[in-house]
Structure formats: structure tokens, C-alpha cells
């Protein structure tokens, strides 16, 4: 642990180059960024600017080509596959645009899944999964499979799954990308609520009005970080919620 444990994310000159055959595709070209505990950061930028690449590096789904990335004080840039899997399981909760729930599997079991890999016993697993589902307002949908849930409900299940391990950091790559605008507002409100409870949230979005509800907006362009602004706390609750 470093002295500044207040930084949940600390990226230093982070770069990622994909190789497609002989062609090198630089997706991220040296990004330095610090995200403090309790912040809610919106990541914006045009398509192909490297947002998802950045999120995947922070989320330990991928490894940087050069540079360093610390998550909750731990340098994860050179970790082995197994060690990265452990960080994904314990420290980070990841929410995807496409929900990524196991089909034909109940909401409860979907949410229990991360705990299965942490060898949490059956009873405790269920207790925590139920609590997480109640936290996202789905306490009455435990036995529903994804096919029997609306898009917004599916994304809530996915958020419950990200929360159930008690992560330090919640990452979301276009979490409202597959939702209509009314549902998007609801899901966003949930992120805000979780952030209000102290959870650090980083989410990618294309919608300026969604970004406007974050405490801080960073923008990517062409693999570079081009702007980083903190918004003064005039964050208003969505009236139509």
C-alpha cells in the first residue's frame, strides 16, 4: 500500500497497442489519471477514442503495453492471469453495456456467482446475494431468469452482481447503452445512490446529460486524455425519477 490510499485508481503514462497481424493499433497513448475514493467519474469521448480500452485495463481484464496502473494501491499492470482474476473478483465490480448475465440462470444465482469463485459457503452466499439484489430494488425478482426481466432489471441484476463482493471500485462501460432513456435515468440514479453511499464509480457514457450528473468528467480523444473537469456540487436529483 502506498501512502495515498485515497487514490483508488492511479494510472501513470498508461498505453495499450493492439496488434492485428502486422498492423499495430495504438488504442491508448499514454494516459495519466488519478481517481480518489468516493468520486464518481464520467468518461466521455468519441467512438474509438480508447475509453473501453482504458476501462479494461483498470478492470484487470487486459494488461497495458507500457505504463503503470494501480488499483486500490496495488500495481496490477504486471500481474499474472490468476492474480488479475483475483483482483477482478475481490476489488472491482464491472458492469457491461450488454449486461452479460448467464442465460437460463436465476437472478439470485447470477448474483451469487462471484462469491462461488471466492469459495463463500452456500448459506452466506445466498444471504449476501439477496442483500445485493434488495439494494438494487429487485428483492422480489430473485427467481427470475434474464429472459423474464426487462433490460433495466437485467442491468440492475448485473449491478447487484458487481456489488455483492463489496468492491472498492465500480466500473461501468456504457451501462445505459442498451437501455431506453427513461430506464437509463433510473439506472443512473442507482449509480448515484451507490456513489452517495461511498462507492467509487467510473462510468463510460456518450450522453452529456448523464455525464453531467457525475462529480467529474474526463474526456478521451484518439487515445489521449484531453480534458478533466470537476463539476461543482450542484448535482440535482432527476426530477422524473
Amino acid at each position: 500500500m502506498t501512502a495515498d490510499t485515497a487514490a483508488v485508481i492511479r494510472a501513470i503514462d498508461l498505453a495499450k497497442t493492439y496488434r492485428m497481424g502486422d498492423v499495430e493499433v495504438p488504442a491508448l497513448k499514454g494516459v495519466s489519471l488519478e481517481v480518489l475514493r468516493g468520486e464518481m467519474v464520467a468518461v466521455m469521448g468519441p467512438s474509438g477514442s480508447g475509453k473501453s480500452t482504458f476501462m479494461n485495463l483498470v478492470g484487470c481484464l487486459d494488461r497495458p503495453s507500457t505504463g503503470t496502473i494501480l488499483v486500490a494501491g496495488q500495481d496490477v499492470s504486471r500481474l499474472s492471469r490468476i492474480a488479475r482474476a483475483k483482483v477482478r473478483g475481490r476489488t472491482i465490480g464491472f458492469v457491461f453495456q450488454g449486461f452479460q448475465l448467464l442465460p437460463r440462470t436465476s437472478a439470485l444465482e447470477n448474483v451469487e456467482l462471484p462469491l462461488v469463485y471466492q469459495k463463500v459457503s452456500g448459506r452466506e452466499r445466498k444471504r449476501r446475494a439477496v442483500a445485493a439484489l434488495e439494494r438494487v430494488g429487485l428483492g422480489d425478482r430473485l427467481d427470475h431468469t434474464p429472459a423474464r426481466l426487462s433490460g433495466g432489471q437485467q442491468q440492475r441484476v448485473a449491478i447487484a452482481r458487481a456489488l455483492v463482493t463489496g468492491p472498492e471500485l465500480l466500473l461501468a462501460d456504457e451501462p445505459t447503452g442498451n437501455l431506453d432513456s427513461a430506464t437509463s435515468v433510473e439506472v443512473l440514479a442507482l449509480f448515484q445512490e451507490l456513489n452517495d453511499q461511498g462507492l467509487t464509480v467510473v462510468l463510460v457514457t456518450h450522453e452529456p446529460d448523464i455525464a453531467a450528473r457525475a462529480k467529474r468528467i474526463v474526456a478521451f480523444k484518439d487515445g489521449h486524455l484531453v480534458s478533466d473537469e470537476r463539476i461543482r456540487q450542484d448535482r440535482s436529483r432527476p426530477e422524473a425519477a
Binding site: 473478483g89 464491472f94 452479460q100 448467464l102 463482493t165
Partner: protein
């Protein structure tokens, strides 16, 4: 993930596609059933043969004319003439310390007729000593007299099957039957013996004096005999008897020292080991077939697991994204492959046991179902599952989570 949890996950995944899982198991089911059934039938045959060999009497020695190779085939031209009736008499006369009885035995097929009934059976020319050697009592009537044996009298003893075929419920003793057109008086009925070591009906036989068979039926004046059946006084004396018979016959046949025997003496232990050799060759063959079918079954599982891994790429991505290590994924798919093999193996055991019972009853075969063999086969099937599942599981565990999540 715990082993228990992995097992549950595996069974649920397999249950989701019951048809495909069943087809994947089919190869293993058939392989295991085949192994269980063939082993049970083979063991049964072996046990029965051993029992019947033992019933022949551990004191038994059989002498064939001519040198024999290991497989019992007579070698050397004209060698069949070397054993004669007087050899039998000499052994009986001179080796009284170790030898209980000596019987010349020659056989011929032939039709027997009584009234309107006729029956094809085995005609066996021998002496009363044969009844002693085989420990075969006469159920009714009397044995041959010395005079009848010498004079080639037209008398015979019949086995129970021949009696049933010709006489039905009637008492045969004293009746005259025709053996290949020779009228012949039935002087006795042999006690029931049952099935022999090679499955033949031992009661389907007509015994007559050796001279009667050779002179009147075969029509030869030669004294050459086909075999001598000899019993030693006790099983401890078998080896001594064998050596003494060997020495006596060599002397009678004027064989120079170093010349090979022109006859072949076999004791039951040797016959048994020859039989065991044949059985183990058969077992090896069956084992090879079983192994091949297991491999085919395993390939079936490997194939289905490969398809399954490809189809479930996204599921694998999801599991990895939320903290599953490559090892967790590897174990999951290995357990699935093993569960397929184990369930298939269990079904195969059941099927094999059932088939064995049915075959045993329909074909009247003696079968031995061994739980040990079933457990061993199950274990081997399970291991085949692991081997078959390993490559697909390894592929699954090496997937890149981002790529896997993007998979459509």
C-alpha cells in the same frame, strides 16, 4: 470453486441439453456395457471350465500316440500307430503302485436305432476301467465282463441322453438296439453326468468294449489305440505315475536314449494351463476391443465438449470477468466431461449387467458379474472422460476474457 459446487454446476450444464449429453454418453455407455458383459461371460466360462476340469479328477492322465506339440496337434508321419492295446495292459499290469486304472479309448460317430427311433451319437470303445477312471457309476444294469471285452461281444452301456432319445420312459436294459446296423444288447444305463468342460453333453454316448468298436464297427484288426485314459491312485502320485508310464512306454517302444517320445502324456494341470493360455489370449482380445470402444467413447465426449466450449464462450468470458481463474474454468469443464463419462459409465454398468443376465438365461451360460470389474470399468471410464475433456477444458481456460465477452 469447491468440488461439490463444480459437480452441481456440471450436472446443471449437462441437464440443459439432455439430448446432446445423452448422445455424448452413448459411446461410453456401450463401451462399458460391452466390457462388463464380456468380462462376466468370460469369467463365467472360465469358472465353469475350471470346475469341470476339477470334476474330471485331478488324478487324470491322458496318453496320445505320436509326439505332440504344445497345442495338442499330433506331429510326425505315421506316429498315430505307436500306441497299442498291449501298452495299456502293460501299464495296468506293471505299474500297480501308482496307477489305479488304465482304459484305452477310441471314438467314432454313429447312428443308433431302436424301433422307430434313431439318434446320432458318439460311439466310444473302451473297457470297464474307463468307468473307474471317470468315476462314472452305472445307474442300472451291469458293466462289461472280461469275456465280453475279449470277444468283441455285441453289448453296450448307454448314456442318459441316448436312453431318453431311444426309449423315452421305457427301461432300456436288456433291449437290443442297432448300432450302425449291428444289433447290440443294452446291458446297462450310465448315471447322469451333465455338460462337459467344452459344453458338450457327456450323456450323449454309447460305450462298448474297445474290441467291439474296432473290430465290428470301425472294421480294423489293428491294435493301435487313439488314447489311454489313466488315473493315478492319488493326486500326489500323478507326477510319479507320469514318469513311470513314460519310462515304460519308452522301453516298450524301444526308444534310444535321447530320442524323442513317440507318445504324449498330459496331466490335468498341463491341460488346465493350456486352457488358461487360450483364455488369456481371448481375454486380451476382448480387452483390446473394449479399450478401442472406450477410446471411441472418449472421442465422442471430447467432440461434444469442444462444441460446448465454443458455444459457451461468452459464459466463460462472464465467469472470468467476475473472478474465475483459468483453473476454475478448467476444473468446471473437466468435471463436466468426467460427469458425462461417469454417468455414461453407470448406465453402461447397468446395461451390461442386464444384458449379461439375459444372455446367461437365454443361452444357459454360466456368467460371473464382478462388482470389482464394474467399479474398475467405471474408474477407467471416468479417467477416459478426464483425458477426453482435458483439451477442450484447456482451451476454455485459456480464453481471453475480453474476446470471450464479445463472442456472439
Amino acid at each position: 470453486m469447491t468440488i461439490h459446487g463444480a459437480g452441481r454446476t456440471a450436472f446443471r450444464a449437462l441437464w440443459r441439453n439432455p439430448l446432446r449429453s445423452s448422445l455424448a454418453m452413448l459411446g461410453i455407455v456401450i463401451a462399458v456395457a460391452a466390457v462388463v458383459a464380456t468380462v462376466a461371460i468370460g469369467q463365467g466360462a472360465k469358472a465353469k471350465m475350471a470346475a469341470q476340469m476339477a470334476a474330471l479328477g485331478t488324478n487324470l492322465l491322458i496318453v496320445h500316440p505320436g509326439a505332440m506339440n504344445l497345442h495338442g496337434a499330433v506331429t510326425g508321419a505315421g506316429a498315430v500307430q505307436t500306441l497299442v492295446l498291449s501298452d495299456a495292459q502293460a501299464i495296468a499290469r506293471e505299474l500297480t503302485d501308482d496307477v489305479l486304472a488304465v482304459a484305452p479309448v477310441d471314438r467314432s460317430g454313429g447312428q443308433v436305432v431302436y424301433g422307430h427311433q434313431n439318434w446320432a451319437t458318439q460311439l466310444q470303445g473302451t473297457t470297464n476301467a474307463f468307468l473307474t477312471v471317470r468315476d462314472w457309476p452305472i445307474a442300472e444294469g451291469r458293466p462289461f465282463t472280461r469275456e465280453e471285452e475279449k470277444s468283441a461281444a455285441k453289448v453296450c452301456l448307454i448314456g442318459n441322453t441316448v436312453k431318453t432319445q431311444l426309449f423315452g420312459g421305457e427301461d432300456p436294459v436288456g433291449s437290443v438296439i442297432r448300432v450302425k446296423s449291428m444289433p447290440c444288447e443294452v446291458i446297462g444305463l450310465l448315471a447322469v453326468k451333465g455338460q462337459g468342460g467344452w459344453g458338450q453333453d457327456q450323456d450323449d454316448v454309447v460305450l462298448m468294449p474297445w474290441t467291439t468298436l474296432m473290430r465290428r464297427i470301425v472294421g480294423t484288426e489293428s491294435d493301435a489305440v487313439g488314447m489311454l485314459w489313466i488315473s493315478a491312485k492319488s493326486s500326489d502320485l500323478v507326477a510319479d505315475a507320469q514318469n513311470e508310464i513314460d519310462a515304460l512306454l519308452r522301453q516298450r517302444h524301444h526308444l534310444a536314449a535321447g530320442a524323442p517320445d513317440d507318445f504324449d502324456i498330459r496331466n490335468l494341470a498341463e491341460m488346465q494351463s493350456a486352457m488358461k493360455d487360450q483364455m488369456s489370449t481371448l481375454a486380451l482380445l476382448l480387452g483390446t476391443v473394449a479399450l478401442i470402444s472406450l477410446i471411441v467413447g472418449a472421442i465422442g465426449i471430447a467432440n461434444v465438449m469442444l462444441v460446448s466450449v465454443t458455444e459457451r464462450t461468452r459464459e466463460i468470458g462472464i465467469r472470468m470477468a467476475i473472478g474465475a481463474t483459468g483453473g476454475d474454468v478448467l476444473v468446471q469443464f473437466l468435471v463436466e466431461a468426467m460427469a458425462l463419462a461417469a454417468v455414461g459409465g453407470a448406465f453402461g454398468c447397468g446395461l451390461g449387467a442386464g444384458a449379461t443376465r439375459v444372455i446367461g438365461q437365454v443361452a444357459h451360460w454360466h456368467v460371473v458379474l464382478s462388482p470389482f470389474v464394474m467399479v474398475a470399468t467405471l474408474v477407467v471410464a471416468g479417467m477416459a472422460g478426464i483425458v477426453a475433456g482435458f483439451y477442450p477444458a484447456l482451451r476454455a481456460s485459456r480464453l481471453d476474457p475480453i474476446e470471450a465477452l464479445r463472442y456472439e
